[in-house]
């Protein structure tokens, strides 16, 4: 896959990966012994962490409360907010 070049593209990848993880997670709650789904979940989770790290390196923290680091100056309060389409 071609390396993402802009914020929107990277964010879309994170959204796709995380949605897959959300949906697999719901499935696993009621099918905890499904090893194939579990392997998919763990693989997606690793890819998500990697993509998230790449995004945060370039565009600042995605999460609050110690889940993401910030460069100086504190970038959490920088625009844009997600509802600002």
């Amino acid at each position: 896959m071609r390396a993402p070049v802009n914020r929107e593209e990277l964010l879309l990848r994170i959204q796709a990966l995380q949605f897959t993880a959300v949906d697999l997670g719901l499935y696993l709650n009621t099918h905890p012994n499904d090893t194939r789904a579990l392997a998919d979940y763990n693989q997606i989770s690793a890819a998500l962490a990697q993509t998230r790290a790449a995004y945060e390196q370039a565009f600042g923290p995605l999460m609050n409360f110690g889940q993401s680091q910030s460069r100086c100056r504190w970038a959490w309060v920088d625009e844009p907010w997600p509802w600002e389409a």
């Binding site: 999460m63 309060v77 907010w81």
Partner: protein, 190 residues
């Protein structure tokens, strides 16, 4: 979007079943100055805040209030968990028990259910931030009343933590009000 972290912001322990105390503490779950009202108020006001800093403050404090709602729920859950029917009756909680057993529901200490008119979202950031500062002080006062009523030192310890957070939030909202004032003063003349 939100993700859930499988832990409390502050550890919760209780000395034992205590329906009387649960009946009062539940007001910070679903009462007028409780944590549900606080979180929903800030999380719905944040969209129309005029500065990015204000949006961040409301997002973060609204999110922390959700964690406080969980702490209050953990207190009430553990206080009623082992309570007997006669203890529930003695606490005047039989009306609550009839409708909810020992489940969590959004009511105040007298069983009045939560309503959206506990909160406001005015679209005027000065009005909204003043409401939020008042809300933090009302919640602080409520926690002080609950500390006065508490006969369980473990519960009191948690209530003290929650009270402190109201003080910190008030401070941050005051600073946010100044930031928003400065921003609006640069742009508008009335």
């Amino acid at each position: 979007m939100w993700v859930y972290e499988k832990k409390l912001e502050y550890p919760v322990r209780v000395s034992g079943p205590n329906a009387k105390l649960a009946k009062t503490v539940i007001t910070q779950y679903g009462g007028p100055d409780g944590e549900l009202a606080a979180s929903l108020r800030y999380l719905t006001q944040r969209y129309t805040m005029p500065t990015s800093q204000a949006k961040g403050v409301l997002t973060d404090i609204g999110t922390e209030e959700l964690a406080h709602m969980e702490i209050v729920a953990a207190l009430v859950y553990n206080l009623v968990k082992g309570a007997t029917i006669s203890e529930i009756k003695a606490a005047g909680m039989e009306g609550y028990y009839a409708d909810h057993d020992r489940a969590l529901y959004f009511v105040n200490g007298d069983g009045v259910p939560w309503i959206a008119s506990y909160i406001q979202s005015k679209g005027d950031p000065i009005a909204d931030l003043h409401e939020n500062m008042a809300a933090e002080e009302k919640a602080r006062a409520t926690y002080e009343h609950l500390i006065n009523l508490s006969d369980d030192p473990l519960v009191t310890d948690v209530l003290r933590f929650l009270r402190e957070r109201e003080v910190v939030h008030f401070q941050r909202f005051g600073e946010t009000l100044n930031i928003v004032h400065d921003f609006l003063n640069c742009r508008k003349v009335w």
